[in-house]
Symmetry: C2
Subunit: 381 residues, 2 copies
């Protein structure tokens, strides 16, 4: 990547364009993502010197047959245009140009001043582990599903998972404020079932219900969750809004926040959005669709997400990568070898498919994760 | 589109797949967007019968050279899985599959029960017109820019636009909570300048400042805006979060809400997202990039957005389409002929480019829009 002064973000885009037009296209993008007007029409010279995006570097990418050229374009943006708002950060990085089909957002280097203004994880990997009493090992996670289950059924299922020793039981992110199982009914019921299982087994399973709705409803849900004594919370930053996630949930959760990627799209590089940005917004763990499951992320993409969640980033705690999306118990060893111990493995449907053998399969999953050792992939910092 | 019972949404996706695999792909998508697990693993027969998405129809699209086949796939989803939450609606329509590159969301027919639960515009086209004292005519709109201007400079610019008779002066959506011009400093200053201009001209120009941030900050901004007496408000639903837009802003604004499309992406059909859904979430007007400007929307797409914003939709007020994105004063007649009088035209940079001639060009724009007559494109309902 090019370099930029300490008071500017450096943002990398991938642009498809004919080689003869890439310079004009890059310049237009730099204006689109900042002043949204022709530079010559900016009357104030001091603004003209600092505020418009600047094209710092243009590098051609290998040609693909039948496509126009593709280029990596580094553009710098003034940090003062963002302040401390995660929404305005997304707006400057990709607000208007998200509507254009020739641009993807590949990477962004956030200056220290901006990193210091963003909340980052309140608990991080160590805090999430501590909530489960898990020492230095990887964590196991599963999901309550399908949507449509009544509170008693959800509680029964949660109790079975907890007796099997799963570390974190989260709601399916499709379980929202539905009439069949309102938050205030299902969350205490599920937590009671998990508490009972923990008392019976001596385990430390925690529950992460899914927050959904506008700020009034979220505030009510946070109160119910706190009163019930949940150990974590799940939320979808791109559905609730990054500013809500960073301002309301990060401040009020009081327990680790697990981010779900729903509505994240494909136009922003997953390592940037699900790894670096969700972490900067306050996610203690970030769920992503692992390669070889129901989604198309490559092995390299998944490794990059995990790296972005854990690597040094200002003074922010590392966040726990959570590979998911159609994973199976028979892939646990492979996933742990790939991602290492600073990882939470999420397996949902594959446990439910076991039918009457659910508790046995869940126990096999939890045990295998708990007993995993080794230092592969441990955070290097 | 296929048909579906009154308690189900009918959702149309465009899927790229080899013809031999489209049935399996459509079935997988129906599960992905609902229960997120294999149907056979759902223990409860009553849930299995209703809650999973159902493939209702698969229709091949014309083949494109060098691509696999493409299909329009209609899937129905149970309305009970959504309740009344705009975020959960987006989640069900496109949450997980937004991460997949072979799927686009083309259309969605919302059942009456859902439409009745969503807020819709509080003011609609008639209310926005009334706020400007504009009778039955189209409206003119411009933007304060660039970001980086101090409150006094923004106020001076707003005063010039107001003296020129522009109906609505909005903040550029890149103007957020920045140190150079905090909301509580710039909004009263701009409103005072517009008030002074209105007193001088007898005009009814209104100001729409841009709301940005989490719910705490938004609540403070709403108070400042109310105290200043602004006539409208601007917000980006996909950045702030649809639930925040529908719950907090729609309820608390007290003036018409103008939605900006930043971060809306390209994978959801603009007519559905910017037209129907933003309107259902409470937008009184919806800005979109008009064809022939800086963005790639086709003429057909722009007409479809305007139609979706205005057409009958439950009991919801129509919303005002706002074509924008690099428009010029010399295109006013063409745009009015295309979109008709139930339209607000937004021209920003082209006015600023006039330099010392800004007021004259702005006045020419405002006058041409004010004097436009004719019934082309009037709401048919």
């Amino acid at each position: 990547m090019a370099t930029a002064p300490a008071d500017r973000l450096l943002v990398r885009y991938r642009i498809e364009a004919e080689p003869a037009r890439i310079e004009a296209r890059a310049s237009a993008l730099a204006l689109e993502q900042s002043v949204e007007m022709p530079a010559h029409a900016i009357a104030d010279a001091a603004i003209r010197a600092v505020v418009p995006g600047r094209v710092e570097e243009i590098a051609p990418l290998p040609a693909e047959p039948g496509r126009p050229g593709a280029f990596e374009v580094d553009i710098s943006l003034a940090a003062t245009t963002i302040g401390d708002d995660p929404g305005q950060l997304l707006n400057m990085l990709f607000g208007n140009c998200s509507l254009q089909t020739d641009v993807r957002l590949v990477d962004a280097r956030l200056p220290d001043s901006l990193l210091a203004a963003l909340p980052g994880p309140a608990f991080g990997i160590a805090g999430l582990r501590a909530a489960c009493g898990a020492g230095e090992r990887p964590l196991s996670c599963t999901a309550l599903k399908p949507q449509g289950m009544a509170p008693e059924a959800l509680a029964d299922l949660a109790g079975r998972f907890a007796r099997a020793g799963i570390d974190v039981i989260k709601d399916d992110h499709g379980i929202a404020e539905q009439a069949v199982a309102p938050f205030e009914a299902r969350v205490p019921a599920v937590q009671r079932a998990i508490d009972a299982a923990n008392r019976a087994t001596g385990g430390r399973t925690i529950y992460a219900p899914n927050l959904a709705g506008g700020p009034g409803r979220l505030t009510a849900q946070l109160r119910v969750a706190r009163d019930a004594g949940v150990g974590a919370l799940l939320a979808c930053p791109m559905i609730l809004g990054a500013p809500v996630f960073a301002e309301l949930l990060r401040a009020e959760a009081g327990v680790p926040l697990i981010a779900h990627p729903a509505l994240a799209g494909t136009a922003i590089a997953p390592a940037l959005l699900l790894g670096r940005l969700f972490r900067a917004f306050g996610a203690d763990a970030t769920i992503f669709p692992n390669h070889g499951g129901r989604f198309g992320y490559s092995l390299a993409t998944c490794k990059a997400i995990a790296a972005a969640a854990r690597e040094p980033l200002g003074n922010l705690h590392p966040a726990m990568p959570v590979p998911a999306g159609g994973m199976r118990v028979d892939r646990v060893d492979e996933m742990l070898a790939l991602f290492g111990p600073d990882t939470m493995l999420l397996i949902g449907g594959n446990l439910l498919e076991a039918g009457d053998g659910l508790e046995a399969r869940a126990a096999a999953f939890a045990t295998r994760v708990r007993e995993a050792g080794g230092d592969a992939g441990r955070i290097e910092q």
